[in-house]
Symmetry: C2
Subunit: 240 residues, 2 copies
């Protein structure tokens, strides 16, 4: 039953001990307090705590389950579909998601969390803070939970990143048969966000995970950005 040694497994580590986040919280410092980071780690932080730390939270009527809908309309630059109370729209960041990312879960009663103003900038701040505090160069991904067409269920995806190649381009590399690969670009930041969700759960209050052991080629000091590199330009998009 024993096989050959298996190199470089990936680890996905939940970061416990992150306290309740309020406006102005130093997320980088809190992550460094809670866990020891290594060069080349990717730290995944959920949108909810980023929005709370940045004050991207608005008051809603706690007794009116639809009171956040005004915010949804305001945060939508274009509505793709409506069905009942559900709105699928494009946000000013270019994300297409339900309710423009406005969310009532895991926030205080009577409040709604909005998407961060610029989630790539949020990721950069956390990355810079970790480097200043712990002296390690990590990648940072801000993740959120999106639905998708054709398939039931939600998965976590990246809405911001820093220090990580967003889309890894395999164009021109060859498959195991020496043929040029047709599938060219892997959205590794979304795969990393999905992997992190598996240890966060949705209701367990673990807003940060560390992914350790990724291919070092995924990390970069270039200014890769989810908004610039992952949002599909509308002209290239067959479903917008």
């Amino acid at each position: 039953m024993s096989g050959p040694p298996v190199p470089t497994p990936l680890q996905v580590i939940p970061v416990l001990g992150i306290p309740e986040i309020t406006r102005g919280a130093d997320l980088a410092g809190l992550v460094c307090d809670a866990t020891e980071l290594l060069e080349g780690d990717v730290v995944v932080v959920t949108q909810k705590v980023v929005s709370k730390a940045e004050g991207a939270v608005e008051a809603v009527d706690a007794d009116d389950p639809l009171s956040h809908k005004v915010i949804v309309e305001r945060e939508s630059v274009r509505v793709l579909r409506r069905r009942g109370e559900l709105v699928i729209s494009e946000t000013r960041h270019g994300f297409v998601c339900a309710n423009a990312g406005v969310d009532l879960s895991n926030v205080e009663r009577g409040t709604a969390a909005l998407l961060p103003e610029d989630s790539d900038r949020s990721a950069r701040r956390i990355r810079d803070g970790i480097r200043a505090r712990a002296g390690v160069r990590v990648g940072v991904i801000v993740s959120d939970t999106f639905g998708r067409p054709w398939r039931r269920g939600v998965t976590d995806v990246a809405i911001g990143s820093a220090g990580v190649r967003v889309v890894v381009d395999l164009r021109g590399t060859r498959d195991a048969y020496g043929r040029e690969l047709q599938v060219t670009e892997v959205a590794v930041v979304d795969e990393i966000a999905a992997a992190a969700e598996l240890v966060m759960g949705k209701a367990t209050g673990v807003p940060v995970a560390v992914v350790r052991g990724l291919d070092p080629a995924i990390l970069t000091d270039d200014p890769a950005s989810v908004r610039h590199d992952l949002v599909r330009p509308p002209a290239d998009d067959l479903f917008r």
Copy 2:
């Protein structure tokens, strides 16, 4: 810099030493030869090797880069979008993907790989084979690489599964503030497939990965199925 102990990290382990797969190959046996599996592991196997083992491969004209297009049309029950040579269509399994899942990469020159006839059944066979051979109850996911609207790049998703809850329903469970969660169903099989891709790469010839340390509640002996539980019924789908 040291923090509290971190419990249950997830491990994503590439399985090396899987030989070239040909029709009739015993995938369960080959996986058991290559690595030691533990109760509760989830084994992710790429569609390409499943299709090869099942003989879901057809001859095409190696000198005509479009000769597989006839197969694409035949494998499509409905075309959603066309642009140039690209076809986004629905397969008879209910999957919406590019080129009906027909693929020329990582197969012998002059051949095209089709989707397995029933990828949930493929997963069940592998799971049963591993149980018979190694005496452990694992989950099995057959993964494939799909694009998606609105976001650039491809990610791996599940097209078949056995022994894994496909969509974990959090409906009625409560968030950290005691509010009933609005986001209800997490497509954990897709998140597991995405995590596995991070150690497989696209051109490295690693067609199998093991995900270890998942929440045991994700595993099930119920007949969960990607085709029944993950494909969104067309009537519920706003984008079909």
